[in-house]
Amino acid sequence: MKMVIAIIQPWRLEYVKEALYAAEVKLMTVSEVLGHGRQDGAPEIYRGQKETGNLLRKIRLEIAVNEAFVEPTIAAIQKGAKTGEVGDGKIFVYELAEVVRIRTGERGGKAIG
C-alpha cells in the first residue's frame, strides 16, 4: 500500500479529478494549502506596495492506493495537473503502514477501496 500526496495548481483540480476517475481511482482527500517552490511565488500589489508574504495558494491531494493502482494514480495526476509551466507542483509517494475502515474495522488492502 502507498500514500500518494500531490501538490497541484488550484485550477487544475477539476482536470486531475477527471483523469483519476477515468483511471478508476475514486477516493481522495483534498485540502487548500499555501506554499511555493523554486519560483519563489509572485508578489501581489496593494496600494502600490508589493506584498512580501509570497506564499501561493495550492491544492493538496491525498490518495491511499493498493500497489496495482500506484502507477495509474501517478499518471492520472500528472496528466491532469501538467501545463508545462513553472508551478505545476509535485507528487510524493510514501509507504503506507496500515489502513483501518472505521465503520467495519477492516484492515489493510481491503480497507482502502
Binding site: 500589489i45 496600494r47 502600490g48 506596495q49 508574504g53
Partner: protein, 446 residues
C-alpha cells in the same frame, strides 16, 4: 456644513440666524426638511458603523478584524454619550467659555431643546426649519465619524483601553473646539470666510493630521511589511456604503431638502465617480493591473476631497477635484509613505489628510458663483475671478493642520502618562482580537 460658515461672506445672513428668534417673522417647521435631515443623520451614522468598519476591517489581517470593527462601533457609542451630555453644547452654544473657541454648558443633556424648539442653525429660512434636536443629532454623527477615521492609521497595534481614553479626550479637546471655531456663529475661523460646505477641515483634515501625529508617536507595527488585506470584498462593500452614506453627509449639509442639497448630491457623486476611475487607471498604468482596492480607495479620496466643495462647485468642477485629489493621494500613498517610512496602516493620513487639503484648496479654485446667485450669495473661486479665495482657503487649512497635529501630539502624551499606548510585541503577533477582546472573527471548523 457651511451652515453658518458658508455665510461668512454674507455675514448679515449669519447674524440674522441667531437674532431671528427675536426679530424677523417667526420661523416655521418644515416637515420636508425635517424628514430629509433625519434620514441624512441616519446615513451619516451608517458611514461609521458599518461602512468604515468594513472598509478598514477588510484591510487588516484576520486576527485584527474585530478590533477595527470594535473601534468604529465604540467611537459611535463614546462620542454619542459625550455629545448629548455636553459636547453639542460646547461646540455649538452661542454663549461661550472661550470666545470664538469654545461654547458653554447651556445645552448640556439637550437642556431646553424640547421637541417644538426650532434649530437656531439654518442656511435659509425660505423653506422652513428643522427641530433643534435634529440639527444636534446630525452634528453628532459628524463628531462620531471623525475619531473613527483616525483609527485606520493606528490599526493592529493600539491597546483598546488607550483607544477609549484617547478618543474621548480627543473629541473634547480637539474636535469640539475646532467645530466651534469653524461652524458656530462666533467662531474665529467662521469669521475668516473659509468655504467648507460639509466638513473638509473639521472632519477630514482634522482626522488626517491627528492620524499622522498618532502614528509618529506610536511607531510602526512590529515586523512591519506589506501583507495582503484579509478580505477585499469587505473593503469594497465598505467603500460602496461610504459612498452611499456620504449623500447624507454632503447633501444633508444644506440643512434642507432644497436645490443646494441637490447640487451637493450631484457634486458628491461626480467626484467619487471620477476619482474611482482615476486610481485604478493609475494602477493599470504603473502596476499593470486595475485593482479593486484602487477603485475603492479612489472613490473614498474623491468623496473626501469634494466634502468642502460640494454645494459650491458644478459637476465638472467636482470631477476635476476628485481626479486631482486622487493623483496627489496616489503619489502620497504609493511613493512618499514608503520613502518617509511612517506606518499609516490603512492610509488615514494619506487619504483624509492629503485628500482633505487638496479638496479645501481646490474649493477656492472651482467655487462657481452661479450656484448661489438665485439665493443672494456669491461664492467664487480663482477660476471665476476671485484668486483671493484660494489664500483664505490656505489659511483655513493651515490652522486646522496645526491644531489637529500639535493638539493630538499633546493629547497622546497626556493619555500616555496614564496608560501604555501599544500592546506588547507578543500581543501584537497573536492579534488584537484575542488579546484585547478574547474573541475571534472566523472559526476554522464549524
Amino acid at each position: 456644513m457651511k451652515r453658518f460658515s458658508s455665510f461668512l461672506t454674507a455675514l448679515t445672513l449669519a447674524v440674522a440666524a441667531l437674532s431671528a428668534q427675536t426679530a424677523a417673522p417667526t420661523p416655521v417647521l418644515s416637515s420636508g426638511n425635517t424628514a430629509w435631515l433625519l434620514a441624512a443623520t441616519a446615513l451619516v451614522m451608517f458611514m461609521t458603523a458599518p461602512a468604515l468598519g468594513l472598509f478598514y476591517g477588510g484591510l487588516v489581517r484576520k486576527k485584527n478584524v474585530l478590533s477595527v470593527l470594535m473601534q468604529c462601533f465604540a467611537a459611535l457609542a463614546i462620542v454619542s454619550v459625550i455629545w448629548v451630555a455636553f459636547g453639542y453644547s460646547l461646540a455649538f452654544s452661542d454663549t461661550e467659555i472661550i470666545p470664538g473657541v469654545l461654547g458653554d454648558f447651556k445645552w448640556a443633556f439637550f437642556n431646553g431643546m424640547t421637541p417644538e424648539v426650532l434649530s437656531p442653525y439654518y442656511i435659509s429660512d425660505a423653506t422652513g426649519r428643522v427641530p433643534h434636536l435634529v440639527f444636534a443629532m446630525f452634528q453628532c454623527m459628524f463628531a462620531v465619524i471623525t475619531p473613527a477615521l483616525i483609527a485606520g492609521a493606528f490599526a493592529e497595534r493600539m491597546k483598546f483601553s488607550f483607544f477609549v481614553l484617547f478618543t474621548a479626550l480627543w473629541e473634547i479637546l480637539i474636535y469640539i473646539p475646532l467645530a466651534h471655531m469653524v461652524w458656530s456663529a462666533n467662531g474665529v475661523l467662521f469669521k475668516l470666510g473659509v468655504l467648507d460646505f460639509a466638513g473638509g477641515t473639521v472632519v477630514h483634515i482634522n482626522a488626517g493630521f491627528a492620524a499622522l501625529a498618532v502614528v509618529l508617536l506610536l511607531g510602526k507595527r512590529s515586523n512591519h511589511r506589506t501583507l495582503p488585506p484579509h478580505n477585499l470584498a469587505y473593503t469594497m462593500m465598505g467603500a460602496a456604503m461610504l459612498w452611499f452614506g456620504w449623500f447624507g453627509f454632503n447633501a444633508g449639509s444644506s440643512l434642507a431638502a432644497d436645490g443646494i442639497g441637490a447640487s451637493a448630491f450631484v457634486a458628491t457623486n461626480s467626484a467619487a465617480a471620477a476619482a474611482g476611475l482615476v486610481w485604478p487607471f493609475l494602477d493599470w498604468l504603473i502596476n499593470k493591473r486595475p485593482t479593486i482596492l484602487g477603485a475603492a480607495t479612489g472613490a473614498v479620496v474623491g468623496l473626501v476631497a469634494v466634502t468642502p466643495a460640494a454645494g459650491f462647485v458644478n459637476p465638472a468642477g467636482a470631477m476635476a477635484i476628485g481626479a486631482i485629489a486622487t493623483i496627489v493621494c496616489f503619489f502620497m500613498v504609493t511613493v512618499v509613505k514608503e520613502k518617509l517610512g511612517y506606518d499609516d496602516a490603512l492610509d488615514a493620513f494619506g487619504c483624509h489628510g492629503i485628500g482633505g487639503i487638496v479638496g479645501a484648496l481646490l474649493t477656492g479654485v472651482f467655487a462657481d458663483p452661479r450656484l448661489w446667485k438665485a439665493f443672494g450669495a456669491t461664492y467664487s473661486g480663482a477660476l471665476y475671478g476671485n484668486p483671493g479665495q484660494l489664500g483664505i482657503q490656505a489659511i483655513g487649512v493651515l490652522v486646522s493642520v496645526c491644531l489637529a497635529f500639535f493638539g493630538t501630539l499633546i493629547i497622546y502624551k497626556l493619555v500616555d502618562l496614564v496608560l501604555r499606548a501599544r500592546v506588547s510585541v507578543h500581543e501584537e503577533e497573536v492579534g488584537l482580537d484575542i488579546t484585547q477582546h478574547n474573541e475571534r472573527a472566523y472559526t476554522v471548523i464549524d
